[in-house]
Symmetry: C2
Subunit: 325 residues, 2 copies
Amino acid sequence: MKDVAHHAGVSTATVSRVLNGHATPTPETRARVLAAIEELGYRPNALARSLRTTSTKTFGLLISDLVNPFFAEIARAVEEEARAHGYCVVLANADESAEQQATYVRALLDRRVDGLLVCPATDDPSWLDEVIASDVPLVLLDRTVQGATCPVVRADGAQALADLAQCLIRAGHRRIGVIAGPADTSTGRERLEQFSAALGGLAVDVVHGDFRRASGARAAAELMDLPERPSVLVAMDNLMGLGALEELRRLGLVVPADVGLAVYDDQPWFPLLDPPITVIAQPTVEMGHAAARSLLALIAGEQPSDVQLNARLIERGSCGEVDRG
Amino acid sequence: MKDVAHHAGVSTATVSRVLNGHATPTPETRARVLAAIEELGYRPNALARSLRTTSTKTFGLLISDLVNPFFAEIARAVEEEARAHGYCVVLANADESAEQQATYVRALLDRRVDGLLVCPATDDPSWLDEVIASDVPLVLLDRTVQGATCPVVRADGAQALADLAQCLIRAGHRRIGVIAGPADTSTGRERLEQFSAALGGLAVDVVHGDFRRASGARAAAELMDLPERPSVLVAMDNLMGLGALEELRRLGLVVPADVGLAVYDDQPWFPLLDPPITVIAQPTVEMGHAAARSLLALIAGEQPSDVQLNARLIERGSCGEVDRG
DNA sequence: TTGTAAGCGTTATCAT
DNA sequence: ATGATAACGCTTACAA
């Protein structure tokens, strides 16, 4: 910057003014400075600038699992909305681990992001104190944590789960196996509760997984090993659904003849299976956009309210019709 | 930091020394400082630290398309390896756009990342000059660009494509439709060339896509609309393969009876289709790890050589057997 | 072992 | 309209 100033015969202050589009510099000095910048290939140091202005024009986005396409889509949407408003997104991947999440929260805070979007790995609220202390604006995405007072953006699956319950009961299912998410995540608990509630008194067999593929396979194996086999399986996330599908295949079980299957989260390949899989689809793109906008609002000093988007059931025939012979 | 120093009755220099694990501070002053840090909830400002030390302990990772699971897996692996060596990864998503890529290269350079990993969206080398000028270490991942002199980590598909060609010819295919990647990407060109070469004189019908889903559907439609229909389609990337699958389904065509299909990139759901899809699998995790290690080496002043991992054919039956009646 | 002070590359205040 | 200059929060000679 000093070089540029020298080259243009001005002070660094003027260079700064040109850089930041201030009104003051005269058109001709502006031209001289711009020429010098061009010639020297000068690029401002964002670190120094941020140190001075206390603004990094950067969001931190903490994702629970990057290889989960549900989160990848959300991340893409967040980044899209952020970019439209002049913000960069630093993406960190917690891999469904609470410790990694805490580590990254700290790393992002230390790097002075202007705002934080977190898809919490677990309910554990211990990391919250640090971000509150730093008073960096925070928005929770997809999942909540205990006692958080910040805006939350999530999909409401109650209606969709009720629809699914109806659909299964109508099809004659009386033994339902649920591959639930972790009990220490809000989505894991809620989906299970809402589904159970919608089922009325009907009991379900529940095995908890961890929202990842292998756990879906394990859970499916366990459920199909029960003395009284379920006639349909409901996987509460797409990766566990994938694992379940793999396990059923391995066991030589045919969907829906031997056992039905429904999955939470839609994926483009679900309709390609035989039979196409019945799913509950979440509005990922809208969630990402809404979350970024909430954070923007928070930064602008507003008080954005929570956002609840609706998930919806897409029936495709993988839940079959139970033979009532 | 000044507060901490006051609180502990020392100077900021001593606080700094404690923070950075220097040998000098006496155990008891160290304890006092640590206590003060704890009590005040002090967190060092990474920006200021980086400004001073010119090291951010951060890699920039520029991905061509985050919702492409191939890149998501790579990103995860890069992050994993980087974390193991004390580096954070800032992930940016170019969405297969050259302009967005250039924008992000600049943003990452300005933020003074210690190294850059780029999966180039196109061959366009214009952004290269800026990173060379900045002399931030650079590693190219998956794709190369014209005239780049930096280490490259990629998968070599020549053998796998030759195997696939053999497999198709053996099955009796004589009209092969290729859904190729963009001609302005190295992987787009190479895969097509290597496959054509392996086919010997046999002509192929080629339609270029953009490595994304919709283009795969369009290309499949175009190929199946040819006066002489191909008996098998080869999609040179998993997203275009997905699109092709969707289009074939829409057209009411059955794989492999009506038309065979092979796809570059494996995905967990390919084996679940009926028939399971024959694919060429790339070692994504190894690629991510290798790339991160190459960058680490570059930063350490070494001269890592290019890395070529082998892709491999996995035959699963979606290419059928042509009826030679 | 510890403190003083300069400097990293900016921006912003205050003069001019 | 422009130029000195202090300050942002940290690290590191150098001195004590």
